[in-house]
């Protein structure tokens, strides 16, 4: 597997004492709250934590890939804040399809309301993972854009069966897709299965293109699997530049994995797109974290002194005091 990435734009204590210390920590915490309230506009934390807007970002209008993508946008004002809008790019589909997590469900597969500009994922009967797909068929070419969206509602099922059901001729399927509270992040390896007509495709070229300007050429192994390491291509100004309302202002960018195959006189072009965040340790300090951990440990060490030893110490210091007197 070739996973090279060419980055274009990248740049003697008593219980009372012990709990007084703990109370001090808590008191400090409470006293911080007013400051926190005043800091409502402070920049947010990029953590491995996205839920309602899982896989969704507000995209820039500039085209960053020629491959078909299906942009998921979440939010609006007031009652529209949970609306999920899908915008096909580089593909002109007749319809946009949604597949629910449970293949046995009555409305497992449905065509969404689509006005040739955008489609709405309206009123699903249950939450969980949705496979969203837009397909355009020309005389000699089939273009497919796919993505996955997680709806944080009840009734979620294991989506593995749904992911694996054949929906198109040429498919790129995440193995697995990040579950709720996690997301794709830079410098992490994620696997994808590439299939044609339901069969794994070995030695298939796969293109990785990111919104931040990186691209890479990858090749599937004998099982049709490709391991993708998302590049750390978030520049200094990337923070919250493309983050949706529900990603809490965390930096995010889109990527697409695309494959092309010619068969039966037709060219099949399929893209799977999603969003990804910066490296897990971006804007985090392991050294400081360990420092505070050690500080807490040191705070508890007086508790580890045995009473006899502590008593002896006290007696000794008392004796010294008497002698000095």
């Amino acid at each position: 597997m070739n996973s090279s990435v060419r980055n274009i734009h990248a740049g003697p204590m008593t219980m009372g004492h012990r709990y007084r210390l703990q109370a001090a920590i808590l008191t400090a915490m409470w006293s911080y709250v007013p400051m926190a309230v005043c800091a409502a506009d402070a920049p947010s934390v990029p953590a491995g934590h996205v839920h309602a807007g899982h896989g969704a970002t507000r995209g820039a209008a500039m085209p960053w890939t020629r491959y078909p993508t299906l942009k998921v946008m979440v939010g609006g004002e007031g009652r529209q804040r949970r609306d999920v809008t899908l915008i096909p790019r580089n593909v002109v589909p007749v319809s946009v399809d949604a597949y629910a997590s449970d293949p046995q469900a009555e409305n497992y597969h449905r065509q969404l309301d689509y006005d040739l500009i955008e489609a709405k994922l309206n009123q699903p009967s249950a939450g969980g993972f949705f496979w969203l797909s837009a397909r355009e068929e020309q005389a000699d070419k089939v273009l497919v854009a796919s993505t996955v969206y997680y709806l944080s509602e009840r009734g979620s099922k294991n989506p593995t069966g749904m992911f694996m059901q054949q929906k198109n001729m040429l498919e790129i399927i995440p193995q697995p897709f990040p579950r709720e509270h996690t997301r794709y992040r830079a410098n992490e390896n994620w696997k994808f299965l590439v299939r044609f007509s339901g069969q794994p495709l070995a030695q298939q070229n796969v293109h990785l293109i990111t919104q931040n300007g990186s691209h890479a050429e990858l090749v599937t192994d004998v099982k049709g699997m490709v391991s993708v390491r998302l590049p750390d291509d978030f520049g200094a100004g990337a923070q919250a530049a493309d983050a949706g309302k529900h990603s809490h202002g965390r930096a995010a960018a889109d990527f697409v994995l695309a494959a092309e195959r010619v068969a039966g006189g037709k060219t099949y072009v399929t893209g799977f797109n999603s969003s990804y965040g910066p490296d897990a340790y971006a804007q985090r300090s392991l050294a400081m974290g360990l420092g505070f951990l050690l500080l807490g440990m040191m705070g508890a060490t007086p508790l580890l002194r045995n009473r006899k030893a502590a008593h002896k110490d006290r007696s000794a210091s008392g004796a010294v005091g008497k002698q000095e007197a």
């Binding site: 008593t14 219980m15 009372g16 012990r18 709990y19 210390l21 703990q22 109370a23 920590i25 915490m29 409470w30 911080y32 709250v33 400051m35 926190a36 309230v37 800091a39 409502a40 947010s44 934390v45 990029p46 953590a47 491995g48 007031g78 009652r79 804040r81 969980g128 009840r154 979620s156 099922k157 294991n158 593995t160 697995p176 579950r179 709720e180 509270h181 923070q239 897990a280 340790y281 985090r284 300090s285 392991l286 400081m288 974290g289 360990l290 505070f292 951990l293 050690l294 500080l295 807490g296 440990m297 040191m298 705070g299 508890a300 060490t301 508790l303 580890l304 002194r305 045995n306 006899k308």
Partner: protein, 350 residues
């Protein structure tokens, strides 16, 4: 056969704790990535959603998110508090209660990974000969309100204010940022990300720093103090709100000797002094985690029992007590080199 494998309630509970530790920390890796969506997402113990391998999630993170993203935002937008705002929260609480109904606060004493690890640290402390620091009744009285403050401020108040736009968005899940279980469960999967302190914002930095210090303190303190974090855990107070609604409960009947020997009080890992002198509903205190140690170490027949729907699941007994103290003191000091291999004769189960 079962009584040979699990001759004491303590050994049975320890086994359950280890199994649940594996499930709550590594269950997703063993049973499938998406298991977390299929089980409950409302577990009455600190199963952490920051752990990528967990098989379930704690009710507290769900509550914080729903207050932050649904109720708080809805209140802020002056919308009607429609079904799609409150129903998910009610469903989460209902799912939690469906589980809680059967085990009550045994989720704290038998399932919670943080509780299990503190107990393991305490056992290590006994092996290392560290002095046990007990809480006197006056000290316990000062500590007990902290868990309610943690619940009201960190789990309910700040997420709601963040959702309404009054507090910073970083305060959407503040308890999770200080919860030691987030650190311990992720570290057990060899993930050091959560130990790293956020430097992106002052709030994130402060919460992470406080959480790391609290975790460090708790894990070392557990060598000499029983269940140090459990005493201020908001899940203890959350579960206490529903304690009386479950048919699983600790029952203590009046006995002339009560208040004299107080061995049950010594055995209680939460230093609930009421267990030694009270009976009836007062004996089943809000801090009780249904670990059953008070019943194990009561030297009188059936004075303390664990009951479900009125059925006796386990009860104290003189013979059982005699065997139990040969194995371990009420305060948890082992009498044999390896507890697990200690043979017990004449044991009996409830």
């Amino acid at each position: 056969m079962l009584s040979r494998i699990f001759p004491t309630l303590g050994r049975f509970r320890f086994t359950v704790q280890i199994v649940m530790l594996v499930v709550t920390v590594y269950g997703g890796a063993l049973l499938g990535t998406y298991m977390v969506d299929r089980f409950s997402k409302a577990l009455p113990s600190l199963a952490c959603s920051y752990d990528d391998m967990t098989a379930d999630q704690c009710i507290l993170i769900v509550t914080q998110h729903q207050l932050h993203h649904r109720i708080g935002e809805a209140l802020s937008n002056a919308q009607h508090l429609a079904l799609n705002v409150f129903v998910p929260t009610l469903i989460s609480v209902g799912t939690f209660f469906a589980l809680f109904f059967f085990l009550n606060k045994a989720f704290c004493g038998w399932v919670c990974p943080m509780g299990t690890l503190q107990e393991l640290m305490y056992r290590l402390g006994r092996r290392l000969g560290r002095t046990l620091h007990r809480f006197a009744p006056a000290q316990v009285g000062k500590v007990r309100p902290v868990k309610w403050l943690m619940l009201l401020i960190l789990v309910l108040g700040l997420p709601l204010l963040a959702g309404m736009g009054i507090a910073a968005d970083d305060l959407g899940a503040p308890f999770c940022q200080v919860c030691p279980s987030r650190l311990v469960t992720t570290l057990l999967t060899a993930d050091t990300e959560q130990i790293a302190t956020s430097t992106a914002s002052g709030i994130g930095f402060f919460l992470n720093a406080a959480g790391n210090a609290l975790f460090g303190f708790s894990i070392i303190a557990a060598l000499a103090v029983r269940q140090p974090f459990c005493r201020i855990c908001p899940l203890l107070s959350w579960n206490a709100m529903f304690q009386k609604l479950s048919p699983m409960r600790l029952v203590k009947r009046q006995n002339d000797k009560c208040g004299k020997c107080r061995i049950c009080q010594l055995a209680c890992p939460m230093d609930i002094h009421e267990i030694g002198r009270e009976h009836g509903p007062k004996a089943f205190h809000e801090d009780c985690t249904l670990c059953g140690r008070c019943a194990e170490y009561c030297p009188d027949d059936d004075v303390i029992q664990i009951r479900f729907l009125g059925l006796r699941l386990f009860g104290s007994g003189r013979d059982y007590y005699k065997q139990r103290v040969k194995q371990e003191s009420p305060e948890g000091m082992p009498k044999h080199p390896v507890i697990w291999l200690t043979p017990i004769k004449g044991e009996r189960h409830g």
